[in-house]
Homo-oligomer: 184 residues x 2
């Protein structure tokens, strides 16, 4: 099993799903006639959580594609381990590891927040006298639901990438001494 190929496959899939999520949310809109002559158009700009989700997912997709482009020269040449001396760029490997971890946590947080906001839009809140939004803009809400599902799958893929990234970094260290690189 080739770690580099698996990682590339995961990164491309995650980036595609993130772009799909951002597009599904960003291009979703529904116009509806409410009472007599008031026309309301629902877009993702009605809810802060969805705006944040579109931005975060776009940046995360961009990061994963950039990582793939630069990986041969920066991070992963170091991970192959056989031809290139291991201790050449330890800081760079740690940098990539932290970027991967930050990406997965930020995407995960944005997705959870958007899910909670959408949940409130579906159910409303009788105690707060917040009315339901989705019974009027049903098609809009179904598309957002699909996008959030895509975002969830993307988060799972990003988690797998972060595991692989941690594995690639930590396997280089000695099992007995703390933070000492393994003997070559």
């Amino acid at each position: 099993m080739d770690t580099v190929k698996t990682e590339s496959f995961l990164r491309i899939s995650a980036a595609l799903l993130l772009v799909l999520t951002a597009c599904l949310v960003g291009f979703d809109s529904q116009t509806k006639l409410l009472f007599y002559s008031i026309v309301r158009k629902a877009t993702f700009r009605d809810m802060n959580a969805l705006i944040v989700l579109v931005w975060v997912d776009s940046v995360a997709a961009g990061y994963n594609l950039l990582h793939l482009l630069f990986k041969s020269s920066l991070c992963s040449s170091w991970f192959k381990g056989k031809n290139i001396p291991m201790v050449s760029h330890p800081y760079m490997a740690w940098f990539c590891f932290f970027l991967d971890q930050a990406t997965v946590y930020v995407v995960f947080a944005a997705n959870s927040a958007a899910m909670e906001a959408s949940f409130l839009a579906v159910t409303g809140s009788s105690i707060f006298q917040w009315m339901k939004v989705c019974n009027r803009f049903t098609r809009f809400c179904v598309q957002i639901g699909g996008a959030l599902l895509c975002g969830l799958v993307a988060s799972v893929l990003l988690t797998a990438i972060s595991f692989l990234s941690a594995f690639s970094l930590f396997r280089l260290y000695s099992p007995n001494q703390f933070l000492v690189l393994k003997s070559r």
Copy 2:
């Protein structure tokens, strides 16, 4: 630097902060006289996201304390690596690793969702005609804000624990072959 001591310290701190968060949210309440004679009491049960947060944080705190109690017999005896043969319980180590990862992601998601819901309670939404809640129950909302801050710090500590857990597991593997345990 002793990994086992660091991990114990992190787990105890995280568990304390999680318990503090759950208590701050769970025991928060404010009674207020609204219009003439209508009395309203605000508690965490008014919002689903806060109920979920209390449960998730309590379970996560319990898990971390149980992990500490059983660690000598189950997981971490394997991690010390010197006296005990390394390959004795690889499945158990992977099991602990996945439990740690699941904990940090679930706590993180619950915290993000509660933050988003609280944000909506503070700002309201003029487009959805959702009115602000926190201008009437200010003291209640300030306490929830403090609790969410505690929860955020706890999430950061849990992230550190998950890094340490990944480090302890993956350092045992060979740097050249995929998923092959290092020669002892």
